[in-house]
Amino acid sequence: MSARFLAVASTLALGFGVSSCGGHGSPQLLDGREPPPLPAALADLDGAAMTIVEVRAVSGGGDRRGRSCERRVEQAKSRSPIVERMAPVGASITFRAESGGVVACDEIAGTLSASNNPESSTPWCGGSYGRLYDGVLRDPRLDLCWPADGGPLTAFAWINPRPGVRWIVIRDGETRHVYEVAAGLPVRVARKLKATVAESASFDVEEYASDGTRLRSYTLDTKVAG
């Protein structure tokens, strides 16, 4: 666990307090860690599990994952902090590229593509590049990742956080995964589908303010494009 992650986690704990029930019974995150406690403002959210967000400086020389993502996408020399997210069903990196768009690299457990390329050191199952129009993505840039075992797909997409939104919550049946907005970047969210074959995905999205007020609830319908 990096010192920077500890700093982020500490900030969450000190700034918002922690919920005693957050994370109980929650699935582990993709890398095996337990979900951090929920912020106090979201303590009453049923079935919620906090995801980890880690914000790192631009192009740190020791940032192996950030570097591998930069190498993967040609326009992708970063010019913003690198935001790495760790959720139960997937992990991702997002940053703003020198070209002005945003770049994502996505990861699941047992990536099919990686398993077919044993010589490849990249952990990523896919990635996306999104153009920004007045600072906003027009398309969530759905990325579908297939596990090597032929199981259900995992869908990744960006959410444009509106002003005043502190947390994005993705509902998935009885569970909710909580993503904190970070570094002024679109929030890369993930959801495991039931299907093993798909070219679209829907996300049930809730947006919350810092005081825990639910600002908006909607379904984001996404389709593979570009």
Partner: protein, 211 residues
């Protein structure tokens, strides 16, 4: 009398003005044509597909327009829904985008574990599960990376943001004629490109051609 004539003419004059504005304003004419409203979901499984057949399929799709996330087109060599906003799949215009055009031209199937061939009718509105990135990086049962030097007709060059198929290989140094869905403004067509010499592009191949 003059007043009553004016009143009778007014609707016609207004209609004429509206028509004139529509004609000289491409955006107003083009946006939200709902071309996809006339598309279908027709396809059939097939086998023994050759690169030459795929090339003809792509050739017919050329000049039919570009639609972000789209997947259906006719064969009148006109973009029937030009000028839509970019990266907006809800505009429902004619044509595929780069990855959807490649998916259909390669007779691919939506299941990533299925290397079989499917003929998608031109008017079938399907994009497929792959972004351009998946043509560049993913090594799947139906397609995967190939060295650029080995590429030939109807292989592809793919970057993280674009994919185009080789219509005619090696027409000049590091140059090929590429059939591709390029952008909303430039449409789908066949152009000389230097993707072969561009390090951001890699070679990609559909597996299982019959010849």
């Amino acid at each position: 009398m003059i007043g009553s004539i004016s009143l009778r003419l007014a609707p016609g004059v207004l209609a004429g003005l509206a028509l004139a504005v529509a004609i000289v304003t491409p955006g107003a004419r083009a946006y939200h044509t709902n071309f996809q409203g006339s598309c279908n979901n027709d396809s059939f499984s097939t086998s023994g597909v050759t690169r030459s057949q795929a090339r003809i399929y792509a050739e017919i799709g050329a000049y039919e327009g570009y639609q972000w996330g789209g997947g259906c087109w006719n064969d009148n060599n006109v973009d029937d829904a030009p000028g839509d906003p970019t990266e907006n799949g809800s505009t429902r215009g004619e044509g595929g985008d780069c990855s959807g055009f490649t998916f259909k031209s390669w007779y691919e199937r939506v299941s990533t574990g299925d290397a079989g061939f499917t003929y998608h009718y031109r008017m079938r509105n399907i994009h497929g599960p792959y972004t351009a990135d998946k043509f560049k990086a993913a090594n799947l049962v139906a397609h995967g990376p190939v060295s650029k030097s080995a590429t030939t007709t109807m292989d592809a060059f793919a970057s993280s943001t674009h994919v185009g198929m080789i219509y005619q290989a090696n027409t000049a140094y590091n140059t090929d004629r590429i059939v591709e869905a390029k952008c909303e403004a430039c449409g789908t067509g066949i152009w000389s490109r230097t993707y072969r010499g561009d390090p951001s592009y890699g070679g990609a191949r559909r597996f299982g051609w019959a010849g």
